[in-house]
Amino acid sequence: MSLAEQGAEMARRSILQTLRQPAMVIPPIAFPLVLMAVNVGGLQSATRLPGFPTDNYLNFAIAFPFIQGALFASINAGSSLARDVETGFMRRLALTPMQRAALLMGNLAGVMTVALCSSVIYLVVGFAAGLRFEAGVGGVLVLLALGLLIALAFASLGALIGLRTGSGEAVQGVFPVFFVLVFLSSNALPRELIEQDWFRAIATVNPVSYLFEGLRSLVIFGWDGEALALGFGVALAIALPAVLGASAALNTRLVRT
């Protein structure tokens, strides 16, 4: 079997594993949408603040489910790899001629498939609720691409932690850290409208702010090169080392003795 075939087989396994566990499918879709609905309802009046860039908070908040969905992708990727370590599947795999890269590629492809389906659902719900996209159809595609890259970045981080620790509990334990990063960013108000200096300073150095700003720039401003470059740049800067780190951890984990 070629690397691609092996990867496809592992991706099929990963997707089936995910689909068979409602707890891995429903929360990444439902939870971000519920939070978005609550925030849109509760913070609509914030659009009356001078300088707020849109008159509909939904246009601002649509980035939130993409980032939160990416956090769930990190947990799903990390947990399933940690489970493979815990159950001994990884050791048995080491005895086969399978290429290591296929396992990681397959796992991430499975998680990304779920992330893509979730992203489409977020957008469909958004459009049904009155979302207006300044960047047009092309912008929707770029938003999906950026959303998937962000999901890949977080999923790779989850995979790295899952492979390094071999513990599902450790992966779950990292979730609050990611959650803190999301809330200490410009997720709820534009950075320039954050009144507290210390909070604005944290949001400015927090890379997650630039992911939010890249995603919503397409919705609110149209084609904003700087926001998009920062969004894609930060996502890549997280994804590349995370994928490389996860590959190295996998090699260590599957060493044949």
């Binding site: 939070l35 309802g41 913070l43």
Partner: protein, 256 residues
Amino acid sequence: MRRFADVARGVAWRSIHRFVTKPQFLLPSLIFPLFFFVAFAGGLSNVSNVPGFDFPSGYTAFQFVFVLLQASAFGGVFTGFSIAADFESGFARRMMLAAPNRLGILAGYAIAALTRAGIVGGLLFAVALATGMRVHGDGVDLFGLVVLALLVNVTATMWAAGVAMRLRTIQAGPAMQMPVFVILFLAPVYVPLDLLSGWIEAVARVNPYTALVEGGRELISGGAVRVWLVYGVAVALLAGFAVWGVRGLRRAESAG
């Protein structure tokens, strides 16, 4: 009565001991409310400049009340997690065999939840005051706010205990947590009720938790509190969920 008190004391001591001696239980309970307080009060303070937002004690106090009540509610839910874990490990079944009065078990968990809420609430108060929260209510108002938070805590404990004792597995965690989360966030979280619009305003107006949040905010700002409405709703919710919790205990008993 003595047997009831003995069982309640034993269960409460064990739960409190576990909570304060195990960092994996203690730290999230302390850190998450503080984090929500920082994120809401710090990140969203500009929302108080929205035309029509009128809260004399400022946005920090406005959010403090929500976070205090939220932490109290989640303290109860986390106690439900402990109950479910005790059933899953078989400890709860042995405890039910040994207890001469099983209502004492439920009371013991409730006392543990109250202690937990007291520790977390105390820390929240200290941090909020240290970061400059303005309190316009007097001592009686603050006492009323503390009582309100404790009523919310016991109500959430009874809800979560009812679920935990019916399902008897830690996998029931989302079933305990999600409804509480949804009810909390369908109240006026970020702005007063009058500034909400659309579907969330309609839902918040019929959400009983809205009366508690708004009442708590009136207490901290020294405003006119509709005492009968606020505490009437709180006590009615507690009574309803106490029945739910006791019936859950009976279901666990009959399940063997």
